[in-house]
């Protein structure tokens, strides 16, 4: 039984010295759904991401990933690259981190490193050019081509990633994360710096990844049009704690959320809302 929930974050805490970046945060991300993590700047969203993807070791709490086959993985016990390799959690970065001196295709080939490493017999089979390696490499190129096509970058496959326009780089980073064949895709502000048309295309891409590949998505986003359009579930954070969660509509009308975003008191926010309606 696979269950409805893919990721359960329970009482997650992250302290840097005396600074509490995340405190007692609990939320669920549901399978084959898009969960958005929003909140004002400095709310601790990226810290949560870094904990989930193994870049930080949380000070407390647990994060459980449940795979389709019912396998449970405690993410806080894995470190570093094993999160991606074993738990199948892929991520993108707020400030794009492609390999700028490698082509778009090469970027996607690097993403398939672990699968290809096995296929190349830890390099030895590959070195002698074994047929099994050749077919594996061809399959890897096919997968990369598939994702390049999906993000609309097929004709730029042989261009250096650093030469691509900003919006293309964002999409390439998502394609690269998808090439690791993840169960959970974590996107850190994928719409940052995109224009309205590119944002709309991104929303479409994310929905198609959710429905087509059946991948669960967890995203941090400031662009509310994207969040409202594609999210199935929204978690709102402020000052390291969860202040609200629910469907996009519920969250939008929550006075606490408005107060957090406007930087005002809760009472004031309620007053503003009531005077508005």
């Amino acid at each position: 039984m696979s269950g409805e929930t893919i990721l359960t974050v329970d009482c997650l805490a992250m302290r840097f010295g005396g600074i509490v970046a995340v405190n007692d945060l609990s939320f669920d991300a549901r399978r084959r759904k898009i969960t958005a993590l929003i909140g004002p700047n400095g709310a601790g969203k990226t810290t949560v991401f870094n904990c989930i993807t193994g870049f930080y070791k949380p000070s407390g709490g647990s994060m459980r990933l449940t795979h389709d086959d019912g396998r449970n993985i405690q993410l806080e016990r894995l470190n570093d690259f094993r999160i991606s390799k074993q738990a199948k959690v892929a991520r993108t970065f707020q400030n794009i981190r492609l390999f700028p001196g490698m082509t778009a295709l090469e970027n996607l080939m690097v993403a398939q490193h672990n699968a290809l490493m096995l296929a190349s017999g830890l390099t030895f089979l590959g070195l002698i050019g074994a047929p099994s390696w050749r077919t594996a490499e061809k399959r890897a190129i096919d997968l990369a081509t598939f994702w390049l096509d999906r993000v609309g970058l097929l004709d730029r496959a042989d261009d250096a990633a650093g030469n691509l326009p900003y919006g293309d780089q964002r999409r390439l980073e998502i394609a690269r994360a998808m090439c690791t064949e993840p169960a959970l895709l974590c996107l850190d502000e994928p719409a940052a710096g995109l224009n309205a048309r590119e944002s709309a295309a991104l929303s479409e891409l994310l929905l198609s990844i959710r429905d087509g590949q059946g991948v669960s998505i967890l995203l941090i986003e400031h662009d509310m049009s994207v969040v409202m359009e594609i999210s199935d579930h929204v978690v709102v954070m402020d000052y390291g704690v969860k202040i609200a969660e629910g469907t996009p509509h519920e969250v939008r009308d929550n006075p606490k959320v408005i107060a957090a975003y406007l930087g005002a008191d809760e009472e004031e926010a309620i007053a503003v809302m009531e005077s508005g309606t």
């Binding site: 993807t53 193994g54 870049f55 570093d80 690259f81 094993r82 999160i83 991606s84 390799k85 892929a90 991520r91 970065f93 981190r97 492609l98 390999f99 700028p100 001196g101 490698m102 082509t103 295709l105 090469e106 080939m109 690097v110 993403a111 398939q112 490193h113 672990n114 290809l116 490493m117 190349s120 390099t123 590959g126 070195l127 050019g129 190129i141 081509t145 097929l154 496959a157 042989d158 261009d159 250096a160 650093g162 030469n163 690269r176 994360a177 690791t180």
Partner: protein, 458 residues
């Protein structure tokens, strides 16, 4: 510097408009550059005037009674300043012709095309020429020895290129692996009588082992810190060799290292020698030629393996590591093993080269494995263009061959050498061949400009 960029941009804009114009038209569009070149030359001449007015213009000496006598040499000063003025113009013109990627090129397109053809032909021509060197220069022992030396450094350069050029890990102690390889062969051969062909892989494996041992403590270090620790590692190996007298003979080195055999047939004048078996007259040159082809084969093996590795996941992971380590971790790449394999692979080739060095010399001592060797090999890699196989080969040829070429200049040799380095770094800050060739492509392979390729930071 900014001035140069601004003025370079002006003729570019005009030349784009007249891109299909005749060379004459491009010369006209180039006109605004003349004032700039003259201005720059004038400034250079002024600087030279100020600098040299006292250094060369006035000569002072202590007189017989201790007083100061001086006389002027204004004619020499004038010659120097004029040379700087003229030289500056020439350099600036050359810069604009063969300048870095992106600046205006006044060279006609036909010349550019033929240059591109020549560039493609360099590698095969060089390879064929190398194969023919022992045939052409059979009687010239000096050239053959020099060829062997150059090829040894080509191999070392290619080996270090894996660590520095591909994985972006700055290694200042590469000579340590060269030493490990050399001593492995020397000690195994003299103590246990093992043949060269058994010792060669053993030397490689032992050096790779030491590569991993160096790799472990430096995994967390980056950039300058990594460089310092690798530098120290190179020194540690050398000091251990000097002080462990009972094993390595200390400063006296190891002598009487067996010469290589052609699969068991020695290259000696005796009855069981190769010459006697083939029924030809013995000549000491046979051994030199054999050594030449041996190191050529080893170097080509290094090259072949490196080229293959680049197209395998491990090679791509090395390059990805150089580009962005954090992104690698996010993609599930094990940074530890990736770095260690880079160190081990580079060290293994260093070990092979070391074993060859020992068998060629017949005698090794710690003096051959000083920091200067590490610096030289690193200079070859950097000069060649990090990651470029052809660039490294050309750089080794220029560095080692050029060094020998200027041997006649005695003390000016280092001066010329330094000048050449400075010029090269102005022209090609990313090495002779700065661009990167993709390892896989869908439609067409296009070189990636060096501006995009990262140098790595540890």
């Amino acid at each position: 510097m900014t001035g140069a960029r601004v003025t370079a941009a002006v003729p570019k804009a005009t030349s784009e408009a007249t891109s299909e114009a005749t060379p004459k038209a491009t010369a006209i569009s180039h006109a605004p550059g003349v004032a700039f070149i003259l201005k720059k030359a004038l400034i250079s001449a002024l600087v030279a005037l100020v600098l040299f007015s006292l250094m060369i213009g006035v000569r002072t000496e202590a007189g017989p009674t201790g007083q100061l006598i001086y006389w002027t040499r204004f004619d020499d000063l004038a010659i120097i300043v004029a040379a700087v003025f003229g030289g500056s113009i020439v350099v600036e013109l050359l810069r604009q012709w063969w300048g870095p990627v992106g600046t205006i090129r006044v060279v006609p397109s036909s010349v550019q095309r033929s240059l591109a053809v020549a560039r493609r032909a360099i590698a095969p021509v060089l390879l064929i020429f190398t194969f023919l060197v022992p045939v052409i220069f059979y009687d010239q022992r000096y050239i053959l020895d020099l060829g062997i030396l150059v090829l040894t450094y080509v191999m070392l350069g290619w080996g270090l290129n894996v660590v520095v050029g591909l994985a972006g890990l700055l290694d200042l102690g590469y000579v340590a692996f060269y030493a490990v390889g050399a001593y492995s062969y020397a000690l195994l051969a003299t103590n246990f009588g093992l043949s060269f062909w058994i010792c060669l892989p053993l030397a490689g494996i032992l050096a790779a082992l030491w590569g991993v041992m160096l790799g472990f403590p430096v995994l967390r270090l980056r950039g300058d810190y990594l460089a310092i620790v690798t530098l120290a590692f190179g020194e540690i190996i050398r000091l251990v060799i000097i002080n462990w007298q009972s094993l390595t003979g200390g400063p006296n080195g190891v002598s009487g290292i067996p010469r290589p055999t052609l699969f068991g047939i020695p290259l000696t004048p005796g009855d069981d020698g190769l010459a006697a078996k083939l029924g030809i007259e013995f000549s000491p040159t046979h051994r030199i030629v054999f050594l030449f082809y041996l190191i050529l084969a080893l170097a080509l093996l290094t090259n072949w393996v490196t080229i293959r590795l680049r197209r395998l996941p491990i090679g791509r992971a090395w390059e990805a590591l150089r580009e962005d380590e954090v992104a690698c971790r996010a993609l599930g790449i094990n940074i530890t093993t990736t770095k260690l394999t880079a160190f081990a692979t580079g060290a293994m080739f260093g070990g092979f080269a070391g074993a060859f060095f020992a068998t060629r010399q017949g005698f090794i001592s710690p003096e051959s494995f000083t920091f200067q060797e590490s610096a030289l090999v690193l200079a070859i890699v950097v000069l060649g263009g990090m990651g470029s196989q052809l660039g490294v080969a050309l750089a080794a040829l220029a560095m080692i061959g050029g060094f020998e070429l200027f041997r006649g200049f005695e003390q000016y040799r280092m001066l010329v050498f330094g000048l050449a380095m400075v010029l090269l770094m102005i022209w090609r800050p990313r090495g002779l061949i700065g661009h990167r060739a993709p390892t896989v492509f869908l439609q067409h392979s296009q070189a990636i400009s060096s501006d995009l390729v990262k140098e790595g930071h540890g």
